[in-house]
Amino acid sequence: MKKTNTQNLQLGIFVILGLLIFVIAVYYIGKQQNLFGNTTQISSVFKNVNGLQLGNNVRFSGVNVGTVKNISILNDTAICVDMIIQNKTLTLIKKNALATISSDGLVGSMIVNILPGEESASEHIQLGDTIKSISKIATADMLTTLNTTNENAALLTADLLKITNAINKGEGLLGALIKDETMATEIKQSISTLQLISKSALQTVTKLNKMIDAIDIKNSVAGVLLNDTISAKKMSFLIESLNQSAIEINEITANFNAFSKELKNNEGALNYVMNDTIFVNHLDSSMKNIDQATEKLNENMEALKHNFLFRRYFRKLERENAKDEKN
């Protein structure tokens, strides 16, 4: 009986361990295929899925976040790929994310790669959302491009062969450079001359440097101008004032110019006075006449004062003046 119990215990352990291994294996395989845990379905429409299969991995920036759940052909240019994405990574995938199909290594199975969008979007994807897709170069396209590149390379190498042959024969400038010894000698001479020139230039620059070093820049006017900020402000003010004065002087000069032009054009009274001698003589004689007339008027006025008709008036004026002086 005891033996049977031990047997049964051992059998029980054996069976449970075996089942446990099986269940764990099933769990991990299911977990890889995102059958357990919280997931959300999103989709994307592609032109070509390049042999993508159900259960292929979906990666977001290189990390496995889900699997392909369904692939359906919508029309001749659109294939809808439904993907299951883990909820914990859902918040990281924004609505402007891009889906692309690529190969997992050179001989690997196909995968869907979700790339973050270029511009930052605040809203993350939700159940049933469709994200945009971009088509990467497929292997066939790559081979086509490679074929073109090969053809171009063949043409290039043919041309290169021609060039190298020509160079070897000493044709053209490059050929002459490589083959022509005279040219080589000349070039050597030119280089040695250039060396001499550069040496001389170096000496000159050294001398110039010494001269510049010898100048006491700090205490010179240039130094003050360069370093003293107050002087700089003053200088700035001075220059502004000078500028203003220059403008004003310019205006005055312009006025003078206009004035002198008018003078030259024989217009205006002054010009008349300056240029017409007859008029000046008339004016002179008129002035003399005026002087004489004034003298005679004074005499008349004096006579008028003594006249009995106006004598009273003038006396009255004298009295008022006397009053004012007293006050």
Partner: protein
């Protein structure tokens, strides 16, 4: 003419044996669902077939994993695809090699022991004695053994696969510096339900075949003690052949549905 006659007899006996085995299996299903149920003997047989075979299966599995990895590694290295080792080894072991090799080992160990045990009981008339004493020998001897083999073989295969993968992981760890975590991550990434479920389901049929053929050969053994040896031997041979036929059918059916 004599040759043709013997050939005709052989063919006829072959079909007769197939027919007898079919009746034998029908009787098994009939007895399986009728009372009384021999639970104690069933548990005993499970212990004998399961626990007692575990060491053999474990050693076989470990060596299978190690050797398979060592043999495959150089070829994959030539292609620069050593990173695919865990995926390739796991799929090969879980889908095909593990179940078939372990079933063959069990055919040798369990099938032959059943054939010899029941055959010797038959030739020493113990079975007849049981019938006389009122015990149903078919139910007690055959049903329990076939059922135990059917139930234990899947578990033995699971253990064997697991140990084989550990053996493979050890080699990869030593030769290729692949950590156990990385190895089993890649294994579970490569495996799918379509790998593990059909492979597990077919092991029930393997177990059934081992139990059925062993019991049939033992139960129908004749001609004294020589018959016991013949029963034991033919149980292993027929079972091995039947295992490959079942495997072929299983792969064929899996290929249609998965």
């Amino acid at each position: 003419m004599a040759y043709l006659l013997s050939l005709k007899q052989n063919i006829a006996s072959f079909f007769m044996e197939i027919g007898e085995m079919s009746f034998f299996s029908l009787r098994f299903f009939k007895e399986l669902f009728t009372k009384p149920f021999e639970f104690k003997e069933l548990l005993n047989q499970c212990y004998v077939m399961g626990n007692k075979s575990l060491f053999l299966v474990g050693v076989t599995g470990l060596i299978l994993g190690i050797v398979f990895t060592l043999q495959t590694r150089p070829t994959l290295m030539d292609f620069g695809a050593v990173a695919w080792m865990p995926s390739m080894i796991s799929i090969s072991i879980v889908r095909e090699i593990g179940p078939v090799i372990i079933a063959l080992i069990c055919a040798g160990r369990i099938g032959s022991s059943i054939g010899a045990e029941i055959g010797s009981m038959r030739v020493t008339e113990q079975i007849d004695a049981m019938e006389v004493s009122g015990t149903n020998p078919f139910k007690y001897l055959v049903v329990t053994r076939i059922l135990a083999a059917t139930l234990m073989l899947p578990l033995l295969v699971i253990f064997g696969d697991f140990i084989a993968l550990i053996g493979s992981a050890i080699v990869e760890n030593m030769k290729g510096s692949v950590s156990f975590v990385l190895y089993f991550n890649q294994v579970f990434e490569a495996l799918t339900f379509s790998d593990i479920f059909p492979a597990t389901i077919k092991t029930f049929f393997f177990g059934f075949a081992i139990g059925l053929v062993g019991c049939f050969k033992g139960y129908t053994s004749k001609k004294g003690t020589a018959g016991v040896g013949k029963a034991s031997n033919s149980a292993v041979v027929y079972t091995s052949m039947l295992l490959f036929i079942i495997d072929f059918i299983a792969v064929f059916v899996t290929d249609i549905f998965v």
